[in-house]
């Protein structure tokens, strides 16, 4: 393999992994607060249509980048109201959210179908981006790639190094005690769910503005579900979310690479490989019961109804 081909391969792996990472890091915070939101796919696809629409109508994918967050966040507010305030079943509501998002985005995006999109600007530092091999990889990415890493660092820092993180984890582990201590369980969860929604929206925006700059229905193609699995895979630790997302992205792309080279491995097997590798890694990680028990939010998916 030439250096140029290797570089292209790494760049492709980064584009394939970034949307997974963005959506997964948001869901990680949501689950850490004790809420299971299965609607990631729906929020992502709303983010994709909102981001594309905003970029198209304003002509600037950067200025209006907040809108794609809003697309996902708005849907997540609906989820929060239903599950947190009205105590609806989280699993059913999350699934409904996905279906709603897929339908709604199709409706909202109808007028964008067939319109060439606006591409998200790439970071370009003259001198650094021109460096051989590492230049384009380190300094020439879409802005959201850097945002995804910044988010992981920020989430890691907040969750494990700040008082806010302690409160979020307390709410997720034992909402009764957190409530007794005077923390506003519902308010904390509202905040986390909206953060998750914004991240999912950002991830969708990455798909429609950087990955394949266009709007088409269902363009998330199941990536929200993979992001959900990655959160469990990572045993709710931010660093492992990065590892998981990039492992999944890399195995997917390598599957294509191996096919292109023409090594006689069945294509169906290669398609299944990312899932198999992820499951395999999950099994290995889960063998350490202490780590799993220490990190799994104990109140995950449980509704909280304070005594009045």
């Amino acid at each position: 393999m030439t250096a140029l081909a290797l570089q292209a391969l790494i760049l492709t792996i980064i584009t394939a992994s970034t949307p997974l990472l963005l959506a997964a890091i948001g869901e990680l915070v949501v689950e850490r607060s004790g809420v299971l939101n299965l609607g990631v796919e729906g929020m992502m696809v709303m983010g994709a249509v909102a981001g594309f629409g905003a970029a198209l109508t304003t002509g600037s994918p950067l200025i209006e980048h907040r809108r794609r967050c809003r697309g996902g966040a708005l849907l997540s507010v609906l989820f929060a109201v239903l599950t947190l305030s009205l105590v609806a079943n989280q699993v059913a509501t999350g699934l409904a959210l996905t279906l709603l998002g897929l339908g709604l985005s199709g409706l909202a995006g109808e007028r964008f179908v067939g319109q060439p999109g606006v591409r998200l600007p790439k970071l370009d530092i003259p001198g650094l981006t021109d460096l051989p091999f590492v230049g384009p990889i380190l300094f020439g990415q879409d802005l959201l790639v850097y945002v995804s890493f910044a988010l992981v660092l920020a989430v890691g820092h907040v969750l494990f190094r700040t008082r806010l993180g302690l409160i979020i984890r307390a709410v997720g582990d034992n909402h009764g005690s957190a409530h007794a201590l005077g923390y506003r369980v519902i308010a904390v969860r509202y905040g986390c769910v909206m953060f998750g929604g914004a991240c999912a929206g950002l991830s969708g925006g990455y798909l429609s503005l950087a990955y394949t700059p266009q709007w088409v229905e269902n363009m998330t193609a199941g990536r929200g579900w993979i992001a959900l699995a990655l959160v469990v895979f990572s045993s709710w630790l931010p660093g492992r979310v990065v590892a998981g997302a990039y492992l999944f992205g890399a195995v997917t792309i390598l599957g294509f690479y191996v096919q292109g080279v023409g090594i006689g491995i069945p294509a169906q097997f290669l398609s299944a490989l990312p899932y198999l590798v992820t499951i395999g890694a999950l099994v290995v990680i889960s063998r350490n019961r202490l780590v799993m028990r220490a990190n799994t939010p104990a109140c995950l998916g449980q509704p909280f109804v304070p005594d009045r």
């Binding site: 140029l4 081909a5 292209a8 391969l9 760049l11 492709t12 584009t15 394939a16 949307p19 199709g106 995006g109 109808e110 179908v113 067939g114 060439p116 798909l207 990955y211 394949t212 700059p213 266009q214 088409v216 229905e217 269902n218 363009m219 193609a221 990536r223 997917t252 792309i253 294509f256 690479y257 096919q259 292109g260 080279v261 023409g262 006689g264 069945p266 294509a267 169906q268 290669l270 398609s271």
Partner: protein, 351 residues
């Protein structure tokens, strides 16, 4: 007495006018595997549906269901349409074959039309286009235009339609360039823009300078444009998405067929049959050729004319299979059940 009956009938018609009028309309339905906005396969079928509405106007009422996954969901979608009073239902993807046959058994009064399949019944007709004819022509263009002698070919599922497409492409390419190589990547999806784009990027990094796809989104062609290489559209003219990259596309034109078949139901002449038309009948169309020198364009147009005239058959003559054995002048049955590669393709066919 007779007069009275006529009068009563006239009165009834007059009274029911509005409602009766709507009920008189023939209901026709379409089932798509992707979104109508894919600007590829499903989009093209939907153009056919619109053509039916335009041609037959008040006599028909059409509906469609998009994004129907192949499998059990398809059966439910088709059955719902049958129950809703649709008299003719077009199911447009290979994976809808068994569900269509199953539902058709339950609703003998409804006519079904299944695209790209091979199972028929008294009320199930099949239709498909000879996509491979178009693929032979683009193979020739690719053979002439590739500088690296490497073509990237993104494919969905190993079904005969796709395999015969690859083979026809290769035969066309070999007819002008014996050194041509085709790199094949199966993405196991008809429609996933992200994966298709990834596959395209990987193929380009491996030296492909021509992009061919048998998947439905415009993503591979957009990647081709971004990386300054050439490619071909699939199912629909995708020039709008990649004006600098698209040479031509293999476009399906279902308009005429759909109008004929719905008309046949209206006239009561509908019969189950198998239709497999190609470039000659206008079911497979190549949009104007662009981004290539005049001599290549001329060669492609001549080849297309020969195929239309029937003097050139992509699977005519002696063909050497990948394993070295030879076959001669393939008939339709052999093309429709093709599960082997021609010589020169170094991919292993997924079984």
């Amino acid at each position: 007495m007779k007069k009275l009956a006529t009068l009563a009938a006239a009165l009834a018609v007059g009274l029911m006018s509005g409602a009766a009028h709507a009920a008189d309309k023939l209901k026709a339905a379409w089932v798509y595997v992707g979104p109508v906005g894919d600007f590829g396969y499903s989009y093209q079928h939907d153009l056919g549906r619109k053509a039916v509405e335009k041609a037959l106007g008040d006599k028909v009422q059409t509906t469609y269901v998009e994004n129907v996954p192949e499998g059990p969901d398809a059966e439910r979608a088709i059955e719902r349409l049958a129950r809703d009073g649709n008299k003719i239902i077009f199911t447009t993807s290979f994976g809808f074959m068994d569900p269509t046959i199953k539902v058709a058994k339950k609703y003998p009064d409804v006519k079904f039309e299944h695209a790209t399949g091979y199972k028929r019944a008294d009320n199930v007709a099949t239709y498909s286009a000879r996509f491979y004819e178009g693929r032979y022509v683009i193979g020739q263009i690719a053979g002439k235009m590739s500088k690296t002698n490497t073509v990237g070919y993104i494919v969905s599922f190993p079904i005969p339609e796709v395999v015969s497409g690859i083979n026809a492409f290769m035969l066309g390419a070999q007819s002008v360039n014996p050194n041509i190589k085709v790199k094949i990547v199966w993405v196991n999806s008809w429609y996933d823009p992200g994966k298709e784009a990834d596959a395209a990027k990987v193929l380009i990094s491996q030296g492909a300078d021509i992009m061919v796809q048998h998947t439905d989104s415009t993503a591979p062609l957009q990647v081709a444009q971004e990386k300054n290489i050439l490619g071909f559209g699939q199912s629909s003219d995708m020039a709008k998405f990649a004006p600098k990259a698209q040479i031509t596309a293999i476009t399906d034109d279902w308009d005429g067929y759909y109008i004929d078949r719905v008309k046949a139901v209206l006239d009561g002449t509908w019969k189950s049959k198998d239709t497999w038309d190609g470039m000659k009948e206008g079911m497979v169309v190549l949009p104007p050729i662009a981004n290539v020198p005049d001599d290549v364009k001329k060669m492609a147009e001549e080849t297309a004319a020969k195929i239309k005239a029937g003097t050139l058959k992509p699977f005519g003559g002696t063909i050497t299979k990948q394993d070295g054995t030879t076959v001669k002048d393939l008939d339709d049955g052999a093309i429709l059940s093709m599960n082997w590669y021609v010589k020169g393709i170094d991919d292993k066919l997924p079984q």
